[in-house]
């Protein structure tokens, strides 16, 4: 079966009484962008770690493009799936940008003579070719996360998981990473799974999944999920700006259709009404 499938997954952290996930079912479609949202501690990152095999579920089964995630399959799994974590400073091992990517390839037993073209190609894809020889400490947060993504792309993965990969970046760095992902989804055949609190990142997804109370509270398209601002507030995630304005207007007694508005759609609606 294509994509990522989690079937009847339960997981309890060692030493914890209550399960963080109980009997969870989730389908992540192949070559689409799926974003998981939920408040801190809801189990979003646990899902990412279970898919990556960093954690083993107490119950249930996970498959990635038909392959069951088991300890024996991990090396195979990690050739087609990579994770970018939150803190850009914790992901570097190499002395230079190119070395860092080579290190990942080495771990997957890529022969040395095949490495250079793979490194060049991956750095080109993330727009970092000029900085191949740079020391990681000289890079901005956004550049570091781009290198982390290049390290994954070098292995030609089918799936990239971003676990709050933009949350510690400044606005310029965040835009840099999101622009890269938007262009990669056009040029590469990639399944993207992102975990985020950022309204801009949320609105880029093909499918949004809300995790709450040990399971899936809601799922659907961006339009279907982001129009539910009461739910978003309850979850403590950001409200998209167009939606925030809609809520203020509705509270002031203005009739606005109950649907999701991006900033541009909101401006358009206002222009129609006002001119």
């Amino acid at each position: 079966m294509d994509g990522i499938n989690l079937k009847n997954i339960s997981y309890t952290y060692p030493g914890s009484k209550a399960p963080v996930l109980a009997n969870l079912n989730l389908q992540v479609p192949r070559n689409k962008w799926t974003t998981i949202i939920g408040h801190n501690g809801s189990g979003k990152s646990t899902i990412a770690r279970l898919i990556d095999g960093l954690l083993v579920p107490d119950e249930g089964e996970i498959t990635v493009n038909g392959m069951t995630v088991t300890e024996e399959n991990l090396a195979k799994l990690h050739r087609q799936l990579g994770i970018v974590f939150q803190n850009p400073d914790n992901q570097f091992v190499g002395a230079t940008v190119a070395d860092d990517i080579a290190f990942g390839l080495e771990n997957h037993q890529v022969p040395r003579e095949q490495m250079q073209p793979l490194i060049d190609d991956a750095l080109k894809k993330v727009g970092m070719s000029d900085l191949a020889a740079a020391e990681p400490t000289m890079l901005s947060g956004g550049q570091k996360q781009r290198v982390a993504i290049a390290g994954i792309l070098a292995l030609h993965p089918q799936t990239i998981i971003l676990d709050e990969a933009t949350s510690m970046l400044d606005p310029e760095g965040r835009k840099m990473v999101l622009d890269l992902l938007a262009s990669l989804r056009q040029t590469e055949e990639l399944t993207i799974v992102s975990i985020t609190h950022d309204p801009v990142e949320m609105s880029m997804a093909d499918k949004l999944v809300v995790v709450d109370h040990q399971g899936i509270a809601e799922e659907g398209t961006v339009d279907q999920v982001l129009k539910q601002t009461d739910l978003l507030r309850k979850l403590g995630v950001g409200i998209p700006v167009g939606q925030e304005l809609r809520d203020y207007l509705v509270n002031a007694g203005v009739e606005v259709p109950n649907r999701y508005y991006s900033i541009n759609e909101m401006v358009e609606w206002l222009c129609q009404k006002l001119s």
Binding site: P171, L270, L274
Partner: protein, 282 residues
Amino acid sequence: MPEIKLTDVSFSYLNRKEPALAKLNLTIPDGSFTAIVGHTGSGKSTLVSLIDGLIKPAAGTITVGTTSVGTDSKKTELAKLRQHVGFVFQFPEQQLFAETVEKDIAFGPENLGWSEEKVKAAVHNALVQVGLNAELASRSPFMLSGGQMRRVAIAGVLAMQPEVLILDEPTAGLDAQSTAQLMDLVDHLHRDGRTILLITHQMEQVARFADQVVVMNHGRLMVDTTPEKLFSDSRLLAANHLDQPAAVRMSQQLQEKGIDLPLTLTIKQLSEQLAPRLGGKE
């Protein structure tokens, strides 16, 4: 209550050619909420480190209230600045160390030589200020959530009762709810009379809370103005790699389509402008 004044202040880090700050002049009135903005490496952190006496100027003088320091000042004189100023560093929860929340918050006040009773009261007040339940006092700070840990770290600074509070990117990495709670706390501290210096990349925070905004670029103070003036100057914003708040962008888009509208800084203000024209309440 102290006014902050920097006169012709320069500073260079060892082994760097370009000065981190060059000939900077700035006055921050007592009780103001001043935002300091600029891209990474523009000199924002150097500026506030000088005000907190963490580093000594290479030229010029820094005055906070009645305390002045210059190039000849000794460490003890620099430390006097810190009697007025509390500094919440970036990701302050990384500096928590004590076995309980209470002990962590008490560390600063104890170092000021306060009596046991005074320290106890200060810790209690600080916990209330940051909105943490008193029951958490005896817990390990490391068992708390990220947002709670950050509030413990801020309580540790507030317990010393500083008149000036510096916050360096206090909401970085927090979710929307924790961000809103923390900014409400900062706003409340400001209304209570404290001078706030906020380093931020979030232009929404500048628009909503600040009454003065200082733009830094390559170690120079580019402009010292109000949020209204800064955000209506798109050329100045672009030259300093700064975004417009979404409400400003939306009101400009509407203006461009021929709708007569003043520049609004927040979504709430924009709604207040629009609602009456759309059949809603004033």
